[in-house]
């Protein structure tokens, strides 16, 4: 091997080693148990990524979400959010089939049909009134069901995308590569629509998280708190224990 290349490899190797948290010795069983429960061997590296994401969020994402909230009244935002959620239902149904939950998949499809038609392209969520409640599944959850464990492997903070783990990184890339809406239509208009959808999804999600993330930032160790929250939330999603949430629609903004 070329000497420079060799030096580079050596440098990378030490860098990686420095980026890993050390496993507590056998003599400290409780510390060891905690280490494996936290499941964050890449913590030093993850904390750096977290800090970069945090700065990016403060500079760009949060202000954008604030502006979105400021300029669009709440019912309009709920309508937009409903459209975004509605577009995720075919994927959800596919994953429910993969997880062996055909009745749930049927409900997801029925919900999609009702809200896409009666609900005018998903703007209004009438399906909930018919007992077809919101639901969400993704490849990460399917992989967890197949593996029979909520343990998703080492915690990973992705640049820009935030908290994840080995399983969910894998699941997410499959979901991105197999998005059903990417197989329909072509041309500049369709491309523009796709970009609009992704951007709206990001801003909508961030807008809903304004208060929770503000609270998180006040904590003693926001990184550790978020890691715990992510792991708990994913476990609940996988076990289908998260209560269905209908988007909040407050009509009282209209003069009575």
């Amino acid at each position: 091997m070329h000497p420079t290349a060799l030096r580079l490899v050596a440098l990378l190797a030490t860098g990686l080693a420095a980026g890993c948290a050390t496993v507590p010795p056998e003599s400290e069983p409780e510390a060891r148990a905690e280490y494996f429960e936290t499941n964050d061997p890449l913590e030093p590296l993850n904390r750096v990524t977290y800090a970069v994401n945090d700065a990016f969020d403060i500079m760009l994402l949060r202000p954008a979400a604030e502006a979105y909230r400021l300029f669009l009244p709440q019912p309009v935002r709920s309508g937009i959010g409903n459209v975004i959620d509605n577009l995720l239902l075919p994927k959800t149904a596919a994953h429910q089939l993969l997880q062996g939950k055909p009745e749930m998949a049927g409900k997801a499809i029925a919900r999609f049909v009702v809200n896409s038609t009666v609900g005018i392209l998903g703007v209004f969520d009438f399906a909930t009134d018919l007992g077809l409640e919101p639901q969400y599944e993704d490849m990460g959850q399917t992989l967890a069901v197949w593996a029979g464990t909520t343990n998703g492997g080492p915690y990973i903070v992705l640049p820009l995308l935030g908290p994840s783990n080995l399983r969910d990184v894998f699941g997410r890339s499959i979901d991105i590569a197999t998005d059903p809406w990417d197989y329909i239509g072509q041309g500049d208009t369709v491309r523009a629509l796709r970009i609009t959808r992704t951007a709206t999804q990001v801003i909508d999600t961030r807008e809903q998280l304004i208060e929770p993330i503000d609270e998180l930032r006040q904590r003693l160790d926001p990184y550790a708190a978020l890691r715990s929250v992510y792991q708990q939330q994913r476990a609940r999603d996988i076990l289908d224990e998260s209560p269905p949430r209908r988007r909040f629609f407050d009509w009282r903004f209209r003069p009575e």
């Binding site: 510390a31 905690e34 003693l220 160790d221 890691r227 715990s228 929250v229 708990q232 609940r236 009282r252």
Partner: protein, 206 residues
């Protein structure tokens, strides 16, 4: 009242073996209902801030197993802590719980709540679901874990939108201690600083 009638109906419909668990569940639900009403009454009252805070602190001590939760939250560090450190920690922890509420007195004006299903969770206690409504805000789902381990019902955990507060808190405190070289005093100092911040926020918002 309606709920009680419903529960009684449910009780009658259940086989005898389930009756005891059902009894425990309805006790927990009634407990949360009563404590919640008392808290809302204080929040909506016109009493000045310091008295309001003192009143909330009293309710909290009555309803929450502060020592039990504190011990859980400190985890393995509880055992290695000195008696003085434990005392300081519990004091700071309780103060943090109170200040977290009192910093939000403004936002909490006019909240209402409904008690939903109560489900036994084995040895952990009974989980009581509540929906909290704030004026023109989306409702929040809070599940209260009520344990009778001490002989009377006490809150041992709050699950906010699917996230257990005591588990998150334990994870966070443990990270603070670990990053402080395994010293509990680092956490205690950090908690004191956080309390000072919460106090400043309370003065600013109320």
């Amino acid at each position: 009242m309606q709920r009680r009638v419903f529960l009684t109906g449910l009780l009658a419909a259940l086989p005898v073996t389930g009756a005891w668990a059902e009894d425990r569940a309805s006790r927990a639900a009634a407990f949360i209902e009563a404590q919640g009403k008392a808290l809302v009454a204080v929040l909506d009252s016109d009493t000045p801030l310091p008295e309001k805070r003192a009143e909330v602190a009293r309710l909290l001590r009555e309803a929450v197993d502060v020592r039990g939760v504190g011990q859980f939250v400190l985890g393995r560090h509880w055992r290695t802590a000195s008696e003085a450190q434990r005392g300081q920690f519990l004091e700071l922890f309780e103060e943090t719980l109170v200040r977290n509420l009192s910093a939000r007195f403004g936002e909490l004006q006019g909240v209402t709540f409904e008690v939903g299903r109560a489900q036994p969770r084995g040895e952990d206690g009974v989980s009581v679901a509540t929906t909290v409504n704030r004026p023109s805000q989306p409702p929040v789902m809070l599940d209260w874990l009520v344990s009778e381990a001490s002989g009377r019902p006490l809150i041992v955990d709050l699950i906010a939108e699917g996230t257990s507060l005591r588990i998150t808190q334990r994870s966070e405190y443990s990270a603070v201690i670990q990053r402080g070289g395994g010293r509990l005093d680092v956490l205690l100092d950090a908690m004191r600083r956080q309390l000072a911040q919460l106090e400043a926020r309370e003065l600013a918002s109320n």
